[in-house]
Homo-oligomer: 241 residues x 2
Amino acid sequence: MTEALQLHLGAFARLTGDDRALIDKIAAKNVREIGPRRDIVREGEKPRAMVLILDGWAATYKQMRDGRRQITSFLVPGDPGDANVFVLARLDHSVASITQVRYAELSQADFDAITAESPGVARALWAHELSTASIHREWVINIGQRNAYERIAHLICELFQKLDSVGLTDGRRCDWPLTQADIADATGLTPVHVNRTLQQLRRDGLLALAARKLTVLDLARLRSVGGFNPDYLHLAGKSDR
Amino acid sequence: MTEALQLHLGAFARLTGDDRALIDKIAAKNVREIGPRRDIVREGEKPRAMVLILDGWAATYKQMRDGRRQITSFLVPGDPGDANVFVLARLDHSVASITQVRYAELSQADFDAITAESPGVARALWAHELSTASIHREWVINIGQRNAYERIAHLICELFQKLDSVGLTDGRRCDWPLTQADIADATGLTPVHVNRTLQQLRRDGLLALAARKLTVLDLARLRSVGGFNPDYLHLAGKSDR
DNA sequence: CGGCAGATTGATTGGGGTCAAGGGCTGTGG
DNA sequence: CCACAGCCCTTGACCCCAATCAATCTGCCG
């Protein structure tokens, strides 16, 4: 039930058997399920709990008054949401499900218990925060410096790598529940242009994308196109560049 | 000597006299000075110390192989650099001075001493990290969703607010050591277009910018243009919206 | 079988990039 | 005190990537 979470946290810090048992216990405690395309938490709310994605995909986003929407990160199975949730008076962004999502809610007390009981898990959560910060910096670069073709290639590399690190690919194929509008909101492009750019990526033999499944046909070339270097994800061991 | 730092950290957490003395002591310990336009720390290096900017402006950036450069944040007096420095094996970005910079270097031991001695200062540093993360999300939105005019207005609002929070404006004027090329690297625009856009902002009576000094002529309108809401900076008290 | 979300296509426009050439300030050295 | 160098800033002409507007198509579901 919590393999993805175990794998994800294990990629950041060596975990003992006790650590793993603790993760299982915590994650089993307050499990919820929500349908696709619903808000899990909303900007401006008082934060009440930290979210751990057990199953399914979600995204964090911010909406501008005029309706423009920017996705600032994707959450895949194993991803903890923001730990900072407990420090802020108000959330400054929303989290919404993309697919049906199963997630655990960690209260402040749960969180404190973890940091007290297990330095290993605490370190892994902290390292995950840093990884997230690093991903945000990379997104700034992606959107600020790369053209549509490179940008989408980079996003796909990043997500594919994250999924791979929690065992959700077979090396070349994975689920792909994102619509072209989602990709547009994440990359600062329009859905129409995302469509044309994806076609180009297909025509160039880099990937196949249909029926909510992604197949990476030429990972090396896709990475080179996107200027993708997995180091910024800070996933231990997995530097199979 | 450390007023900016005191003010900055004080904006995140209530500090006692002891806390302030501690900050003074730490920041006085390992002070360095560096000329304008030099790297303070470089991507790929093993992190050795956390940087606290005491005086002058700096920027964090990442460079792509082909020379394109993206600034991912500006550091002004009072700003701590990344605390995560101690967790990562390798830095994933560089920090460079813009003006002449005076800064303190915090070793891991100094950092541990702070967290042990003063929960208040530790909380302030942690809150600063969160604020930085929030700024990064805002930059993603800025670059992803806004046009050049809005984008530059937003950047100026953000920096002006940060400077104001550490007493480095008189309410409408402040130092402005950034070249148009710096603004370009931060906003994902070209220097030429930054130039034309700044002229438009001047023509519209929003600001004056000359001789390395910025004057905000119409803060309300500048904020409205940039869609700037200071909340995401999480600066306590200063919500003079 | 209608209805709807998402993908696709075409035609046109426009924001911002690119290239290239001046202009102005400031510091330095003669 | 002047001259020159260098770094910025500014301007003009032109181009192109991506946005916009508007259908049409497809697959899926009730």
